[in-house]
């Protein structure tokens, strides 16, 4: 691939996306064939925010390619606690490793960090900004289950602060998906994302109720509404309650609807959905490994 750093889904063309997903499919079909691919590679893990899935799947991906990771550990136990800047931290750690994975609570952090290093840097989430590797595994899951042709997708929940949503919505414009956004008015898409989607010529519709569009959807992508986005607990409960689904809700959906969630979920998808054929969110989480293996392999020169 022609990108040294993976910062935003906006930098990924349809061709880039297909290249990663095809490679991920090859890896998933025969993971053993890639086991020694990067046996001398060290991946630097810089997680300034808690993460379970992203961090563990990057770790697994690097180890399954034969390499290893070097982990900064928690912010509390690092030099960041002493006031070290992000720019300094990444310049130090790039000297130890062959590539970097960064999660940071502030928007634009990954882009800034990438300007200070020569090794490839992957954005694993920058505040409410972007989360492009989540998008790649989301797209892999969508392609596996619903395909990209004539795709209608509903994205529901916190569209304002949800970085997975911002990345995914932009990437979906490359496959010309029809996108429906379902959220409370206070959590609609930010102006910048709306602007980009408009510029990309995307067909988007916004709704406050899922019922209006559920029967049309091939994919329903649910995200968590966070309590801290609301002034008080009771308002949060009232709003969040309107964006929960259970098995009964899905009776109005197509039989082959794919339900996805970047996880962790709290109560926006009831556990009785897990037993339906719609539930693909655990498969989606598992796809993080082959997709991140593919991305790392391509970034580290696996396509040569």
């Amino acid at each position: 691939m022609r990108h040294d750093h993976i910062i935003s889904a906006k930098q990924l063309s349809r061709g880039d996306i297909e290249t990663v997903l095809d490679h991920a499919a090859d890896i998933a079909a025969d993971p053993g064939a890639f086991a020694d691919r990067h046996s001398d590679t060290l991946l630097g893990m810089l997680f300034f925010e808690p993460s379970t899935r992203t961090k563990m799947s990057f770790t697994t991906a690097m180890k399954r390619l034969g390499g290893d990771i070097v982990d900064m550990g928690s912010v509390e136990s690092s030099s960041v606690k002493k006031g070290e800047s992000l720019a300094d931290t990444v310049r130090v750690v790039e000297g130890y490793t062959d590539a970097l994975v960064l999660r940071h609570p502030m928007e634009g952090s990954a882009k800034m960090a990438s300007e200070f290093v020569d090794v490839p840097l992957v954005n694993a989430g920058d505040g409410a900004g972007q989360h492009p590797t989540q998008t790649l595994l989301d797209l892999y899951t969508i392609r596996e289950n619903a395909g990209f042709d004539d795709l209608t997708i509903g994205i529901m929940g916190d569209l304002k602060y949800g970085r997975t949503v911002h990345s995914l919505a932009h990437a979906l414009t490359t496959v010309d998906a029809r996108q429906h956004f379902i959220s409370p008015e206070s959590l609609q898409l930010p102006r910048s994302v709306r602007y980009d989607l408009h510029e990309a010529g995307a067909g988007i519709r916004e709704h406050t109720e899922l019922d209006e569009v559920l029967p049309e959807l091939d994919v329903l992508y649910v995200t968590r509404i966070q309590a801290e986005r609301f002034p008080d607990e009771s308002e949060y409960r009232e709003v969040a309650g309107q964006y929960q689904i259970d098995a009964e809700t899905l009776e109005a959906a197509k039989d082959d609807l794919t339900v996805m969630h970047p996880l962790p979920r709290v109560d926006e998808i009831a556990h009785d959905v897990d037993e339906t054929t719609h539930a693909k969110y655990f498969q989606q989480a598992h796809n993080g490994v082959p997709v991140r293996m593919a991305l790392l392999d391509l970034m580290l020169g696996g396509d040569q």
Binding site: E107, S109, K111
Partner: protein, 155 residues
Amino acid sequence: MSDNDQQLRVSKIRNGTVIDHIAGGQALNVLAILGIDGTSGDSVSVAMNMPSDRLGHKDVVKVEGRELSQDEVDVLSLIAPAATINIIRDYDVIEKRRVERPAVVEGVLECPNHNCITTEDEPVASRFAVGDDGVRCEYCDTIIRDNLPAHILAE
């Protein structure tokens, strides 16, 4: 009265730059963007809300002893798109320029998103892409459409 008569209300300068046709009331923001605060000791004259045929009201700024470059004046397009720049040597206008909208402005505006990395103590200047109807942070994507002067970085 012609623009020339108006300019005489503040004294002529010998060498330096005259910025004319600034939108009325924006002269102090122009000085802020250019980082001119009077501490260098050179004369700075400001005339505000002068009648103007073209703008209704305009401001004029005269900076003695400093010739502004095209890059410096281009950032003025954000708040004073009609501004004209006269470079003065020995009391004569030796060059007239217009501000052109730059593709990017760096270190001029502060990102209004308090969670943007450029607002932190990092070795990075704010950088905004300039579009037709606003500017956009190149780090966090925040778009500013209105009231750009309110976002000028304090020195």
